[in-house]
């Protein structure tokens, strides 16, 4: 096994092109577990730790936030909680403080586990993943086409994830996760909702409820048609129930050690209702305070 330590992004892209089997290493919270347990012996480890730009975020000219792939969860919580509240909430549920100091959204995207906590808010918030290769240059991949299978993503063998882009929240965003304890838990299933009042629509994201993280598109269409954006009337029971049903229908979960498919479907419906309820209550308060 080789240990590659590129000093610059260009060197990293060159190394990934030379050794496509090289596994990018940042926080190590996924990769090192596999190496410690001898389930993976990659040709090389590509340590991205020296590339400081990956740990920066900025507000781009178009107003979107561009967040480096290596910005750890701890900093997303403290530095981006106001702009990306759904992602910050999800980040708070990742592992422990030690894990949140190291783990990053870039790592979550690279691993592409259906249970990764950052995926549902990235989907609900229409994130775009910036990938790059020495030969192909920069490629912008919308989150909802990024996940291609269980622990598989749309990256080409010579590509690395450089950043993700997301618009700052213009409405309330919530994340919810079911697990068997408060800390250090892999989601049994999770759900994110983001209200986009200017566009009169809502985004959703399901985690650990299908082979890939995915949006509940029928549920989103239903909300776009039914939500009373101008009057901000309270949500009715039937509307919430229908939203929960449509969210659950978007799931195609499996039975496994963490939960049954039936339980996951039920939990997705419950989390969908609750997160939408919380988000809509916040929205109503904002509308009332602006009136």
């Amino acid at each position: 096994m080789e240990f590659l330590r590129p000093a610059t992004w260009e060197e990293a892209l060159a190394a990934k092109a030379d050794v496509p089997g090289a596994v990018p290493l940042q926080g190590g919270t996924d990769v090192m577990v596999e190496i410690n347990f001898d389930v993976r012996r990659p040709a090389a480890l590509l340590d991205l730790g020296a590339i400081t730009s990956l740990s920066d975020w900025e507000v781009a000219a178009d107003g979107r936030v561009r967040v480096g792939a290596a910005v750890p969860y701890a900093r997303i919580i403290t530095e981006l909680g106001d702009r990306l509240p759904g992602l910050a909430q999800a980040s708070r549920t990742v592992g422990s403080p030690q894990i949140r100091n190291r783990g990053s959204v870039g790592g979550n995207l690279g691993a592409a586990s259906p249970a990764g906590d950052s995926h549902p808010p990235l989907l609900a918030g229409d994130a775009v993943i910036e990938a790059e290769s020495a030969a192909g240059g920069v490629r912008m991949i919308p989150a909802d086409t990024f996940y291609t299978g269980v622990k598989r993503n749309a990256l080409r063998p010579d590509e690395l994830i450089r950043a993700f882009w997301m618009s700052p929240a213009t409405g309330p965003q919530y994340f919810s996760k079911v697990g068997t304890r408060n800390a250090m838990v892999i989601a049994v299933c999770s759900f994110a909702v983001a209200l986009h009042p200017r566009e009169r629509r809502a985004g959703t994201g399901l985690g650990s409820a299908a082979p890939t993280p995915r949006r509940a598109r029928a549920a989103e269409d239903f909300l776009a048609a039914e939500l009373d954006w101008d009057g901000a009337a309270p949500l009715t029971g039937p509307l919430l129930a229908r939203f929960g049903e449509l969210a659950a229908e978007a799931a195609s979960p499996i039975d496994d050690v963490r939960g049954t498919a039936a339980y996951r479907r039920h939990a997705v419906a419950v989390m969908a209702r609750r997160t939408l309820g919380w988000a809509w209550n916040d929205y109503r308060e904002r509308v009332a305070s602006c009136a």
Binding site: M1, E2, F3, R5, L25, G27, G28, T29, M32, V33, I35, N36, F37, R41, A44, L45, D47, G49, A74, G95, S96, P97, Q98, I99, N101, R102, N182, A183, M184
Partner: protein, 156 residues
């Protein structure tokens, strides 16, 4: 490969390091610092918690090569010579140490909490220590120890 790093203020060099080796292995087996414990090797138990450039991390999840040129502070580096850190002192006095396996990780994590939050609430203590497992104490004595250490540090 060779890894150069600073551990508890001292420049150290480890030779013959395997590329997939963890920082934890380097600390324990190559540098003779067995304070950080090797328990789960998957970041679940927190027993190997050390400071890496000032942030607490699980040493089992840091590749040795990633520590090149960095500063590591282990539980051995918290005491001032023979004088224990207030967190260490409080753990001993409160009976928060039983088999001792989880203790170094809990001490480092509690030390970091009190550096950032001098007077933590109980929920803050619980959240800070949520990644550290102890199978002996039931955590109540650990809570007592962190509260005592906070009070002593505040009184200084």
């Amino acid at each position: 490969m060779r890894v150069n790093l600073t551990v508890n203020g001292r420049a150290e060099t480890a030779d013959g390091v395997w590329e997939g080796e963890s920082l934890l292995y380097v600390l324990r087996e190559r540098l003779g610092l067995p304070g950080s414990k090797n328990a789960c090797e998957q970041g679940e138990c927190g027993s190997c918690t050390v400071y890496l450039d000032g942030l607490p991390v699980c040493a089992c999840l840091v590749a040795a090569g990633q520590a090149e040129g960095r500063e590591v502070r282990t539980v051995e580096g918290l005491a001032d010579g023979d004088r224990l850190d207030p967190v260490q002192e409080a753990f001993v006095e409160c009976g928060a140490v039983q088999c001792g396996f989880c203790t170094p990780g809990l001490v480092v994590q509690a030390h970091d909490l009190l550096e950032r939050v001098p007077e933590p609430s109980d929920p803050e203590i619980r959240e800070a220590l949520a990644g550290n497992l102890c199978r002996c104490t039931g955590y109540e004595k650990i809570m007592d120890a962190v509260r005592l250490a906070a009070a002593r540090k505040a009184a200084r």
